[in-house]
Amino acid sequence: MKKLILALGLFPMIALSAVTDEMQAEMNKELIKAGLPVPGSGLQVVPNGQIQVSGWQRDKFKSDAKEMKEKGYIDQTSERAYELMHFKEQVKRNGYSDNPSTNEGDSGLHRNASEIAFSYSYVGVPISEIKEIYGVAPSGAFLTLPQKGWTGAVVFFKSSFANCAYTEKNIVPGQGGVQVEESFSRYDVNNKLTTVEVEGNNNSGFLYNIFWFDLNYYRQLECATTSYSTNILKSTIDLAKKIDNN
């Protein structure tokens, strides 16, 4: 009986707190005015210059795109490349979380994804592509409905050619929104909307960063090596394709 009363008591709270269409329409007006994608707007390729960014950011877009075209990479220190190349040492220093990420309070690193509660069926990287796994950690939001758990995760691993981090985010139906400017839009990963960015230098190492999108997932694969080569970029894209097919 107590359980029944508790359940009846909780139900109105859930029902009352849902965002109505009217509320969402009000909020969307603000977001559209700011030039931002609204929940449920899906995947959009927009004209160059449409993403509203400040002056220096627009200049950086232009100079980065120019460097990508001319050199194949953006010539700047990549802290992320350095971090990924030395991730194993970081794990040795910091260890793993002792608590399972079955609640909102733990976003620590775990030995594998089974120690994390997900709000959806976690997909991850095919086992055949992992030479060594360094750990998995929650990403995104912790949901209570329709299934209690995290909306995504990152897995750090060693592939056949580099240390990599794969981040997967499940998009709740009717929520996400992506805008890619025309000159940056590609379809390398199984004909899905893709962006490619490489940054680094000989001091920090190079980060190969692939994003690809569909209506259910945002995915990002980052792989780091000491040098730049088009072959490594190709290997990273090929790995993204295999992950996407998983």
């Binding site: 931002l36 990508m68 995104g140 990152v154 985010k169 998009i171 400017e181 994003f211």
Partner: protein
């Protein structure tokens, strides 16, 4: 006495914040009626271009009363926090809706939105 309760609630909130940072990836959340009303995107020690829009509806039972907005603007940081300090206490009527944006080279995206009516760090979607 109410003052003391707020201090205790604030201290508990701060303890909770430290425990819930995204440590190995970006995490997002909103909280309502928690001394603060807030929407936060973060990844400890990793700075990216982020923007958070936090809509604070004054009364979850009567949304006709309207809302106000906190917009962080787009900036590079490891913790993008749209916070209204001291706006409401536990048991309050606010509903908070967070829209979390990321900007990368040539693209921007909206992660899942976070709608909440209480102080728990989840959610997500409904609370």
């Amino acid at each position: 006495m109410k003052y003391n309760k707020n201090i205790i609630a604030g201290a508990l909130l701060l303890l909770n914040l430290n425990a819930n940072a995204g440590l190995y990836a970006t995490t997002i959340h909103s909280r309502a009626n928690c001394v603060n009303n807030e929407s936060i995107t973060w990844y400890a020690g990793h700075s990216y271009d982020w923007r958070v829009y936090s809509f604070h509806w004054y009364d979850m039972n009567n949304t006709k009363k309207g809302y106000h907005v906190i917009d962080t603007g787009m900036s590079r940081t490891w913790r993008q926090a749209a916070v209204h300090w001291g706006e409401s206490n536990p048991g309050g009527k606010y509903m908070v809706h967070g829209a979390h944006y990321y900007l990368y080279l040539g693209h921007q995206l909206l992660d899942n939105v976070t709608d909440v009516t209480d102080c728990s760090i989840y959610n997500g979607w409904w609370d």
